[in-house]
Amino acid sequence: MTTRSPWKRLLWLKQEYPDNYTDPSFIDLRARQKIDSTKKSDRKLSEAARSRIRLDFISFYQTVLNTSFIYITFTYVYYYGCNPIPPTIFLSFITLIMSRTKVDPSLSSFMNIKSSLIITFAMLTLSPVLKSLSKTTASDSIWTLSFWLTLWYVFVISSTTSKHKPSNLSTNILVALVAVLSSRLSTTIDVFCFLLISIQLNIILPTYLSVTSKVVPIITNVIVYSFLNVTLGWIYMLMIFFVSVFYITVLPKWFIYWKINYHKRDNDLLSTWDARTPILD
């Protein structure tokens, strides 16, 4: 008598088991869960999982900060009417240096001299068109549009798994957002510089900077809060600061508490016994 091959949880596979077959591992899991629910001591997450949750919260905060750089640049150019050329030159210089120092094969395919030339010239050509694109549209509708685009962008970029390369969709949404905002600017140079700064800050530079480095987040925070202080005043700045501190310190704890007490049990069962998303590719 030949031994049966072990049961697999695959629908499309023809197996030598009856339709109502229940695998012993499932029963084991249920039994273990029953025992677990009676014990209190086991209700704990590992330290790695906890730190992962904290990291996720922080990285989302970082994403929001990065995104806010678009608005900072826009306010700098549009509201204060400052000359955007010096920061553009400065940022381009930094980008150039970083692309020299970090030679990564996967990045070099993503960003090389040819594409940077094409990007520059395309933006130079299209800036005058972009400038006049929404002249007849009311500013309010542009602000609304950019608000929704920003929400979409933050959602998409924080839900992509790969941290190394930004996804196509998020890049596109960002470019669309920047293009929509730049159509409010008055001169061609402003439009070009704004596009360049936003793309460098949000697309190119994050791929060169290592995630673990501590210096970059500190610089970002300092820039954002000082800008908020200048623009909105210190009261608003402090309010936003406290809210973000609350978000970084308190919310992860609540989340972990919820995960241990309410989420874990269901999730254990579901995560092993239910394919949550169909895998198409």
Binding site: I119, L130, S134, K135, T136, N168, L169, V175, A176
Partner: protein, 609 residues
């Protein structure tokens, strides 16, 4: 299954005043029912052997009221003898006012799917009334059959009437033997040939396969139609004047191998549709010319008024209105804020086209003097050849004048269509996807940064420019649809003048039996002791089926120009065109698709002579 015996209705057979024994003789072939042809007294038949198609079907005693039948389970069906002279006949299928070769095309053109028609044609779903239709053929030729019978057995009493107009016939025969008649016949034959050859030449020139002029102009289409009608006249006339058919039936019956098949093809009722079509066409042409005379007179009376009014109207619609709309589009129409640069550019482009076309030809064409000369020419033409020519010329004139609108429509629809296509593919790029042409699906693709950037920037620009292009496109589409509607409705008027089934309608009123639309068999008496008696009746053709080509035409127009499919086409930016040939193909249903060549025509005409 009962044996059906068809009795002529109301004749001597049923309520015979003559008392005494009788024998009824009937004809029947292999695949027909019995049709009673005549009666006689039984003593004649004692020494004669009745031959095969005929047989004694029933006998009656001297005192007897009822017939005694020789076949089991008899069932009487009464019918009125169709008068051949008045072209009455029975038919199980409705008479077709469309020539058969076109009938096939008409069915497939609108609505029906080919699978359904296949199912319909399957023998299982067809009622098998071949026997009945064969019997109907005998009934239709009843006088001929009964004459043949009485020639064979002179003692038999039939319902045949004597031919009376012998003197007239004699005079006609004498006339046709004179040299004068022969010369006149010859000359007219060659004249007809000459006219037909010219007409067919013109028609084939206009239908030249590489450049079909017919498709471009209503006037040329009208000329082509008239030419084709002229070409077809002699053929139709020759077909309906086949007088020999009825005489031949008798001689054929005398031969032993009388074949039903050959008889069928020579049925005179096969050519009645031709008769109706020919006289319908002739009548419509005469009508057309008389309309032309009436309208020509009216136009002549109101010439000055017409010229000045049409000048004003045309100038307003083709120049002032167009200009106003184009300028308005550039300056925020209805408060919709379009992209100023693009709107200005497009509006200037269109304004330039308007000015150019106006100064190039529209100004000249709608000048009162030109209009007046054109009107004079049209009036002369209307007097000579008919109203429809005038209308078609007006349509062509209007088409030339509305050419700028057509150009605007094409330009804006091309722009819109291109923009829509580009936006669709850029949207795929926006989502990080790419169309896979090999598998015809949309796949994920990882793009380079420069591709993404350029694509997204272009996409955003196009999205912002869409309302502007769409405003231009929609306004010119509305104008274009207006001109198309005007053209189509005037062409519908022409179609009505050219193809109205006037003759058929009047025939239907005068004598419905000439236009049978099928038969019905009703129960006549239900005397319990007697056999069941049924009555064969003719159902006249329905009015709806007389106007079938028009219904099809209307359905086609609706499908092409006033349907959701059209709206979808407009939204997609696909261009809407008038395809005249396809549209009015339905109305050529009374004409063969190719006019008969001169040589064939000559053969046909000389054989008959």
């Amino acid at each position: 299954m009962p044996n059906y015996i068809f009795w002529p209705y109301g004749s001597f057979f049923e309520n015979s005043t003559v008392r005494g024994p009788r024998v009824a003789l009937a004809i029947s072939f292999q695949k027909t029912h019995f049709v009673v042809l005549g009666v006689c007294e039984p003593q004649y038949l004692e020494e004669i052997n009745i031959r095969s198609p005929y047989s004694v079907i029933a006998t009656k005693d001297a005192e007897g009221e009822n017939w005694v039948y020789k076949v089991p389970d008899p069932c009487n069906v009464h019918f009125r003898i169709p008068k051949l002279k008045f072209m009455q006949f029975y038919s199980s299928d409705p008479i077709s006012l469309i020539i058969p070769e076109k009938d096939v095309g008409l069915h497939n053109s609108v609505g029906e799917t080919s699978n359904f028609s296949k199912l319909e044609e399957h023998p299982r779903y067809k009622s098998d009334n071949k026997r009945l239709s064969e019997t109907l053929n005998i009934i239709n030729l009843f006088p001929a059959y009964s004459r043949a019978l009485s020639e064979l057995y002179p003692f038999i009493q039939t319902s045949q009437k004597k031919l009376r107009d012998t003197r007239l016939r004699r005079i006609a025969a004498w006339c046709s033997s004179t040299y004068f008649y022969k010369a006149a016949a010859g000359i007219s034959l060659y004249m007809i040939l000459a006219i037909c050859s010219i007409a067919s030449l013109v028609s084939s020139l206009l239908n030249y396969s590489h450049f079909q002029l017919v498709n471009y102009s209503a006037f040329i289409q009208q000329i082509d139609l008239r030419c084709q009608q002229i070409c077809y006249f002699p053929v139709q006339y020759q077909r309906i004047n086949k007088k020999d058919t009825i005489q031949k039936v008798g001689s054929m019956l005398k031969q032993e191998n009388s074949n039903n098949q050959t008889l069928n093809s020579r049925m005179p009722c096969k050519f009645y549709p031709d008769y109706i079509l020919l006289y319908n066409t002739v009548w419509l042409i005469i009508n057309d010319i008389s309309f032309g005379l009436i309208f020509g007179a009216i136009l002549t009376e109101n010439r000055d008024f017409l010229v000045s009014t049409s000048h004003r109207i045309l100038k307003f619609f083709l120049y002032d209105l167009l200009k106003t709309i184009t300028i308005m589009l550039a300056s925020n129409p209805f408060g919709i804020k379009l992209n100023a640069e693009l709107a200005n550019f497009l509006s200037e482009l269109f304004l330039w086209v308007i000015e150019f076309s106006y100064s190039a030809f529209i100004k000249l064409l709608i000048d009162p003097e030109t209009l007046s000369t054109l009107l004079t020419l049209t009036i002369y033409m209307i007097f000579l050849v008919g109203f429809s020519f005038g209308v078609s010329l007006a349509i062509d004139f209007f088409a030339v004048l509305s050419f700028p609108i057509y150009v605007f429509y094409r330009i804006s629809s091309k722009l819109y269509h291109c923009q829509l296509n580009i936006m669709a593919s850029l949207f795929n790029l926006f989502c990080g996807k790419k169309k896979n042409v090999l598998r015809n699906r949309v796949d994920h693709n990882y793009f380079q940064l420069d591709q993404l950037l350029l694509g997204t920037l272009l996409f955003i620009i196009l999205v912002f420019l869409t309302p502007t292009v769409m405003a231009f496109y929609m306004s010119y589409t509305v104008l274009r649809m207006l001109t198309i509607t005007i053209e189509i409705f005037s062409e519908a008027v022409i179609a009505l003048i050219n193809h109205f089934p006037l003759f058929a309608l009047l025939l239907r009123l005068k004598d419905p039996k000439r236009l049978p639309g099928g038969i019905s068999i009703d129960l006549k008496t239900t005397n319990s002791n007697k056999h069941t008696i049924l009555e064969l009746q003719n159902n006249p053709i329905k009015f709806k089926s007389m106007f079938k080509p028009y219904n099809l035409l209307l359905a086609q127009i609706r499908a092409n120009y006033f349907s959701f499919a059209t709206v979808r086409q407009i939204i997609r930016g696909e261009s809407i065109m008038i395809n005249r040939h396809k549209l009015y193909y339905v109305l050529y249903s009374a004409l063969p698709s190719k006019p008969l060549g001169v040589r064939d025509l000559y053969k046909r005409l000389t054989i008959q002579a």
